[in-house]
Each structure stands twice: as structure tokens, then as C-alpha cells.
């Protein structure tokens, strides 16, 4: 799967474009950034309902390629700028967290951990 596929599966709307051809191996869905930071696998997509600059910083520390804001949430300019500087793709989807994660999982994306 690549970033472009995520846009299709989640009927997403691009807010800030990074490398859309980057390969996506696993995903993580959480509003708690410390929980995201607890599993340092190749988690290349972060799905979250949290909208603040620390979401981008968390993705940056984890080398994530893409952040999906669920329930159509729109980040402000400072968040978008931060993502632009770091080459991270931002998108929003109208789906809620459970549904968005389910759609990606059903399309073959896993959490990358055994549990």
C-alpha cells in the first residue's frame, strides 16, 4: 500500500502533500501520543482525532509518512506548516476513528504488533 491508496480507501482529502508514493507498512490509531510513541515499529500512518502540533512532532520522531485526521477535523496553519517543513502528508477523512481504521485493516494494513 502507498499513501495514495490511503486517500482512496478513506475517501480522504489532502491538506498537505508529502511523498504520495511512499510505501505504508503499518498504521496506528490513537489520540494519546505517548501510546503512539510506545511502539517503535515501521508505523507509517497515524490516524488521530487530536489536532495540535504535537501530532506532527510525534509523527516526525517516529519517521511516519502520513497523518490522517478523522471525523473531518481540520488542522490550523501552524500545524500544516510544521508538516510541510517535514515532508509529512496530512489528510482528513469524514470517517470516524473506528471506521477509518477498519477500512485500512480490511484492505490489508496491520498494526505491526502481535497484540
Amino acid at each position: 500500500m502507498i499513501v495514495k491508496d490511503i486517500i482512496d480507501i478513506l475517501e480522504g482529502e489532502i491538506i498537505c502533500e508529502g511523498d504520495l508514493n511512499q510505501e505504508i507498512k503499518t498504521a496506528c490509531g490513537s489520540d494519546m501520543m505517548s501510546d503512539v510513541l510506545a511502539f517503535v515499529k515501521d508505523q507509517s500512518v497515524l490516524l488521530t482525532g487530536l489536532v495540535n502540533p504535537q501530532v506532527v512532532r510525534t509523527a516526525e520522531m517516529m519517521d511516519m509518512a502520513c497523518i490522517v485526521f478523522v471525523r473531518g477535523k481540520m488542522p490550523d496553519d501552524s500545524i500544516i506548516r510544521l508538516a510541510e517543513q517535514r515532508g509529512i502528508t496530512l489528510m482528513k477523512t469524514r470517517f470516524r476513528m473506528f471506521t477509518a481504521c477498519g477500512r485500512l485493516y480490511a484492505n490489508g494494513l496491520s498494526g505491526g504488533t502481535k497484540v
Partner: protein
């Protein structure tokens, strides 16, 4: 050691949105120096969690980073309230962060456990009412 690269950052306690700037800068520097990506990630995450802790609990402080060929040593120092029970603070899920911090995505009680997990050595010196020094070492495989 004379071949260390020394970096110093002040961490502001007033602006939560800027927390992580020091970690971000260190990550960039290590990347440009060509360090192993897995090690860089471990260093960045450990330092980032610690930086967030400083902002949440201690009203900021400073970070000293020493980059050696085989390891990175980080000191995060603050004049915050100190940690009353370090053993408890090391338990996953234990947090004293206020609710407003949770609404920002932190305070899940994973900060110190994550820092320990990603560093090879971790030492905490803390005195109630005086502050906390957190020493981290992450070894780097070439």
C-alpha cells in the same frame, strides 16, 4: 572526550505547542551526521518524551546533548517540583499530569517507561522542590 559534538537547548515551559523543538533539532543533526536511523529514532523519541515531561511538569528547563561516535548522552535538567516517587512514576499508566495535558495527547503514564525503553542507560536525580536531572545514554551501532 574531545571529539564529542556538544549541543545546548533551552526548553520553554510556557508554550506547549513548541515542545519538541530541541528533539527535532537533535534528530536533524544526527541525520545529517549519518547516524543509524533506528538509533536516531530511539534517541528522538526518548528525548521528545523527556522534553514534553519538562514542559508539562516543570515549567521547562534545558537539555545538553553530547554526540559521540558510538553513543549519544543527553542531560535534561529542570527546576520543577521533583518526582516524589520515582518507582511509581516508572510504572506504565501512572500519571500525575493534569486533565488539560491529557486533552493534548499526553499524560497517559507512558513518558518515563517509554524513555527507559528506548535508552540504554537512564538515571534520575530528583529533589523535591529543587528539580530533576534526567541522564540518558543511547548507544549507536555503526
Amino acid at each position: 572526550m574531545s571529539n564529542a559534538i556538544h549541543l545546548h537547548y533551552e526548553v520553554s515551559g510556557e508554550d506547549f505547542t513548541r515542545a519538541g523543538e530541541a528533539s527535532s533539532a537533535v534528530k536533524k543533526r544526527l541525520k545529517s551526521l549519518g547516524y543509524n536511523p533506528d538509533a536516531i529514532r530511539r534517541i528522538a523519541i526518548a528525548m521528545y518524551e523527556a522534553e514534553i515531561n519538562m514542559v508539562i511538569h516543570a515549567d521547562g528547563g534545558f537539555c545538553d546533548v553530547d554526540i559521540y561516535p558510538d553513543r549519544v548522552e543527553i542531560l535534561l535538567s529542570d527546576h520543577g517540583p521533583g518526582i516524589p516517587d520515582v518507582e511509581k512514576a516508572m510504572q506504565e499508566g501512572y500519571s500525575t499530569a493534569p486533565d488539560n495535558v491529557r486533552s493534548l495527547g499526553f499524560g497517559a503514564g507512558m513518558g518515563l517507561p517509554n524513555i527507559k525503553k528506548y535508552s540504554d542507560e537512564m538515571r534520575i536525580e530528583t529533589t523535591i522542590g529543587v528539580g530533576t536531572n534526567l541522564y540518558l545514554t543511547v548507544r549507536v551501532k555503526s
